[in-house]
């Protein structure tokens, strides 16, 4: 019953924050940051379902994000596909690719998925860089704006509404999943794979499913981001972006949906704030991350929640 209540309370708080935020933010620059945070948070929540809840590490999620982005860009630009169809095609292709990779890899034990996704991410990145005709290569390519049924999404305010609604939807889906038979099976795989199997959980199948799910979400978020930003470069599919996503999960808190949002927010804002350090921002950034992991080893949200609970007692 406690879980039931806290789930709805959390969603309500998130909805209120998202609704009130535009009233507080002074100008379009901040709104832009908020949109980027929301779109990142969607990917991070999906990655957290895989990493934090199921205990499987992906070092190639930016590859899936990039696939979605480039599928949208290439199909709308070169073939005049409607944006929604391009988004769906990108998500479908990403899902199939993730499934084809995960089926053989996840039958093996250990951190094989981390290595396989690392490789796949690098391959995707290389293909995007080399297929200049379709992707613009290292120079990147422009993406037309998103239009559906004659309505074009334009301007920060409309995009903010889209991003906020998508984030709320993702949060709701993720919270539902965690507190469900499938969600418990995933967490049991993390806690004790052997216990999960003895309880009848087909562990390989569930690992594959959650991996495909998180890859597809990353692809959709990539498509939406591409339309929002309007110009994409191979960096968004690169290894460093994958690491950035993993860092957002870990800093915000493994196995915490709201932690994913906080992690995405912090790591999106921090580099902007640290520009004052001129050249030293990467060092300061590193120190902050190290400090978080030393003093709040479970990540921001779970560690703080634990302290609050301890104090109440």
């Amino acid at each position: 019953m406690k879980v039931f209540q806290s789930r709805h309370r959390g969603l309500l708080v998130l909805a209120l924050v998202l609704a009130l935020l535009p009233l507080v933010l002074p100008n379009a620059f901040y709104l832009d940051v908020a949109i980027r945070i929301a779109l990142n948070a969607i990917v991070v929540i999906a990655l957290n379902l895989l990493m934090g809840y199921t205990g499987q590490i992906s070092l190639g999620h930016a590859g899936f994000y990039g696939l979605g982005a480039y599928a949208s860009a290439a199909l709308t630009t070169h073939f005049n596909w409607p944006p929604l169809a391009a988004l769906a095609a990108g998500a479908l292709a990403t899902g199939l690719l993730a499934w084809a990779l995960a089926r053989p890899v996840l039958k093996l034990k250990g951190h094989t998925l981390a290595m396989a996704t690392l490789g796949l991410g690098i391959i995707i990145s290389i293909v995007i860089n080399n297929e200049t005709r379709w992707t613009g290569g290292p120079d990147g390519m422009p993406v037309p704006s998103f239009a559906l049924a004659g309505i074009t999404v334009e301007g920060e305010t409309s995009w903010y509404v889209v991003a906020a609604v998508l984030l709320l939807l993702m949060t709701w889906l993720a919270l539902n999943l965690i507190d469900s038979p499938v969600g418990r099976a995933l967490q049991a795989i993390h806690g004790s794979e052997i216990a999960a199997r003895v309880a009848g959980v087909d562990t390989t199948r569930f690992k594959v499913r959650v991996f495909v799910l998180s890859a597809v979400v990353a692809s959709i978020a990539g498509s939406v981001s591409a339309h929002y930003i309007g110009f994409i470069t191979p960096g968004m599919a690169g290894f460093f972006h994958s690491i950035e996503l993993v860092t957002m999960v870990v800093v915000g808190g493994m196995a915490s949906v709201f932690g994913s949002i906080i992690g995405a927010a912090l790591l999106t804002i921090l580099p902007q704030l640290l520009q004052a350090f001129e050249g030293w921002e990467v060092v300061v950034f590193g120190v902050i991350l190290m400090g978080t992991m030393i003093f709040l080893p479970k990540g921001l949200v779970p560690s703080i929640a634990q302290r609050l609970r301890a104090r109440r007692k």
Partner: protein, 251 residues
Amino acid sequence: MLTIEHLSKSFGGVHAVQDVSFAVRAGTIHSVIGPNGAGKTTLFNLVSGIYAPTSGRIILKGENVAGMAPDALARRGLSRTFQNLQVCMNMTAIDNVMVGAHLGLNQNLFASMLRLPAVRRRDAECRLEAARLMDFVGVGQYKDADASQMPYGALKRLEIARALAAEPKILLLDEPAAGLNHTETGQIEELIRKVAQSGVTVLLVEHDMKLVMNLSDQLLVLDYGKMLAVGTAAEVRANPDVIAAYLGAPA
């Protein structure tokens, strides 16, 4: 219920279980005893599908299940607990028990994500049943606790609750009294008896002789992977080979 025929398992040159045969009748408590390293846990891991046997057959309700995966065995009504606890410390106590009921619940990813009414209703029933099982095994006070906050003795019982949540026909208990004090052992004995009375066949590995002798309908004694004796508690106690193995007296 369960018949083991000429079961063997070797790890390289080590013959952990050699040519073991026995039968467990439905509704009884059957114990496996033997000195350390006798192959009891290996035998359990074979029966529960963690290891595949080198040779031999395991017949569960008329079907040869040797080499089947644990989740396939779970579907056939076999459940177990572990000597070294396998509780999911990342979850709450009651969620651990609910994992045991996995096979009886909706396993569709989308139904779960959308929290369809049927899923929600069945999940609520499952939570009530899990709470009832926690009371049954005597860990009712931890219903709101995280598994990581529970003491060792309670975790052992929580594992039994999780195994029972699967509504097994046969339950394998791997040293349920290990690490427990005298009082706790007595309580576990009561619990195992209650489980057996509820109609679940029990296969038990245990070092505590008093517990084993009190509970078992049939005993199997292993030594160095081989069968030393089979019979009732009285028969086994009187067997000179068993006495020799346990006391080290010259045979």
